[in-house]
């Protein structure tokens, strides 16, 4: 009846401009590709190629490794901030919240550029390391820089996930544990931490999936030497014009992200989306 009618414009829009293109991409990824020309066909050679060629496989594994590391670190350093924002009684809370949300208002490009300023061979971080006597360290055009940048970019997502989880745990639970003789650390470790595990898992899963398709940060801080699945999709699409291979990589990234988010959603009984 009428309600369905209201949904129609948005649905048709997405079908035409999102779902059909996705299906086309899926189809292209099994087409044949010879000398820069795409031929209709049905072959898994692009998938097989990507997953067996050591150059590409290496990119995939390194990206997964990167995603895992960034996911873990954002949760670890996001937790204290989330805890402060939910439980803290400081009058700086509002300010800290603004600080945490602020990066979400700036483009990834802008934030990553900030890291470029900091991490450059002659940048502030190296200057600081110099003073401490740790000498100049190469922090850009390699995975280290990309890693630092990505942690910064996705930290807010983890913080928000953990905050959401933390705010469902009543503070009295921790007090009850203390009242039963647990120290503050034990009360936190035995009560609050397990109860906020869902938030941490969500934060990790979101970050993991987002890193797989992160383009700007690897490109800016990694230069042309660091390759990730996302930069590969772009390069195959626009420099090498190998659309079938680009499609295959995209499908692989899509599948991995969906599986991670789906498993997390199932475990938690709710939808996990960015």
């Amino acid at each position: 009846m009428r309600p369905v009618f209201l949904v129609t414009p948005a649905l048709v829009y997405l079908v035409v401009l999102c779902f059909i293109p996705d299906v086309i991409m899926l189809a292209l990824s099994v087409f044949e590709y010879r000398d820069g020309v795409i031929y209709p066909g049905f072959t898994f050679e692009h998938y097989v190629g990507f997953l067996t060629d050591s150059f590409y496989l290496n990119i995939l594994l390194r990206t997964l490794y990167l995603a895992f590391g960034v996911g873990v670190l954002t949760v670890l350093i996001g937790y204290p901030v989330a805890y402060f924002l939910v439980r803290g009684r400081s009058r700086f809370k509002g300010l800290v919240l603004m600080l945490v949300l602020m990066p979400l208002l700036a483009s990834v490009v802008v934030r990553t550029f900030g890291w470029l300023v900091l991490l450059e061979p002659q940048g502030l971080v190296n200057q600081l390391l110099d003073v401490v006597g740790l000498g100049p360290v190469t922090l850009i055009r390699n995975y280290t820089g990309v890693f630092i940048g990505l942690v910064h970019v996705y930290l807010p997502y983890s913080i928000l996930s953990i905050m959401a989880s933390l705010s469902t745990v009543h503070p009295s639970l921790e007090l009850a544990a203390q009242n039963l003789g647990a120290g503050r650390v034990a009360a936190f470790r035995r009560v609050t931490l397990p109860l906020t595990l869902p938030g941490m898992v969500t934060g990790f899963a979101l970050t993991f999936a987002l890193v797989l398709s992160a383009y700007a940060t690897p490109r800016i801080l990694g230069g042309r030497t660091v390759h990730t699945t996302a930069t590969q999709i772009y390069d195959q699409m626009l420099f090498l014009l190998n659309w079938p291979l680009a499609g295959a990589i995209a499908v692989i990234v899509l599948v991995i992200s969906l599986v991670v988010l789906w498993v997390t959603s199932r475990v938690q009984g709710k939808l996990v989306i960015a």
Partner: protein, 290 residues
């Protein structure tokens, strides 16, 4: 009771001196605060340095800063940078309006509907949030190319693509507002003689205004800052500002970019400040988590 008599009481860990208790406490607190301070510095640092770098005398930012200069701003406020900024601004504005219209209608339909497959439909409408955006961008480029619409690349394609990824935000914020809307208010309006259109304009819309506004603001910000879609759908001389910056910093280090970055941040902040005057937009940041 006899059982109780045999039962040995287990006591809590026991007595520690006040000094030790105080030390334990302070140590914990200090550790926590130091960690917090370091993390917050980490969060703030790259944005702060962008501001400083934009007015720093020398090309490379060193400590202490070399001196004040407006030369990067002079470079930034030229057609080379303001062209893409203006394009992004228009793009984000149109995206926000279109997404809000499509999204508000869709959210109303889903919320009101009692048809089968409603949950699946909602999931489909929100799916652009789950699909990796770089995949969406690449797929759209292939799509436009294959159906022979390479000509739309540039503003039209960017607009079409940005609506795809911002639509879910609009739908979700409006859904949140609708959850908070008492159905009986619309009943009351109809009972008093308002037809469906009058009910929507006079009662429903004013009451979900915050959600619609918030959705539009989110859509604007997402569009204005977007990389993965814009990466594929622009064309030379017709690219949005994040892609312009990306292309530039890939090849060289130029503090003019810092000034441009400050301009983009200022635009977003100004937008939020303006929007906040019309509706409580900020409260939706939390409600997004659901």
């Amino acid at each position: 009771m006899t059982v109780a008599a045999e039962h040995r009481r287990i006591r809590v860990a026991g007595y520690v001196s006040p000094t030790r208790a105080w030390l334990e406490r302070s140590l914990l607190t200090i550790l926590y605060r130091v960690a917090l301070g370091l993390i917050l510095t980490f969060i703030a640092a790259p944005i702060v340095v962008v501001f400083i770098a934009s007015v720093n005398e020398t090309q490379y930012l060193r400590f202490p800063p070399a001196g004040f200069s407006t030369r990067w701003w002079e470079a930034a406020l030229t057609e080379r940078w303001m062209g893409p900024t203006w394009l992004s601004l228009r793009l984000a504005a149109v995206t926000a309006v279109m997404s809000s219209i499509l999204g508000t209608l869709a959210a109303l339909g889903i919320y009101r509907g009692s048809f089968r497959g409603r949950d699946a439909l909602l999931a489909a409408l929100l799916s652009p949030l789950i699909l990796p955006q770089i995949v969406t961008g690449a797929a759209m480029l292939q799509f436009f190319a294959l159906i022979g619409l390479r000509d739309v690349l540039g503003f039209p394609a960017l607009l079409l693509g940005h609506i795809v990824i911002t639509l879910p935000y609009a739908i979700r914020t409006v859904m949140v507002s609708l959850h908070g809307l008492d159905r009986r208010l619309e009943w009351a309006a109809q009972d008093l003689g308002a037809n469906p259109v009058q009910t929507f304009v006079r009662v429903t819309l004013p009451l979900i205004k915050n959600g619609v506004f918030a959705g539009a603001v989110f859509a604007f910000i997402v569009s204005f800052n977007d990389v993965p879609i814009s990466l594929f759908l622009g064309r030379p001389g017709n690219i949005p500002i994040p892609i312009a910056i990306l292309g530039h910093v890939e090849s060289r280090f130029d503090p003019a970019v810092a000034a441009v970055a400050v301009v983009t941040i200022a635009i977003v902040l100004a937008l939020i400040a303006i929007a906040e005057r019309f509706a409580r937009v900020s409260e939706f940041i939390y409600q997004q988590e659901r």
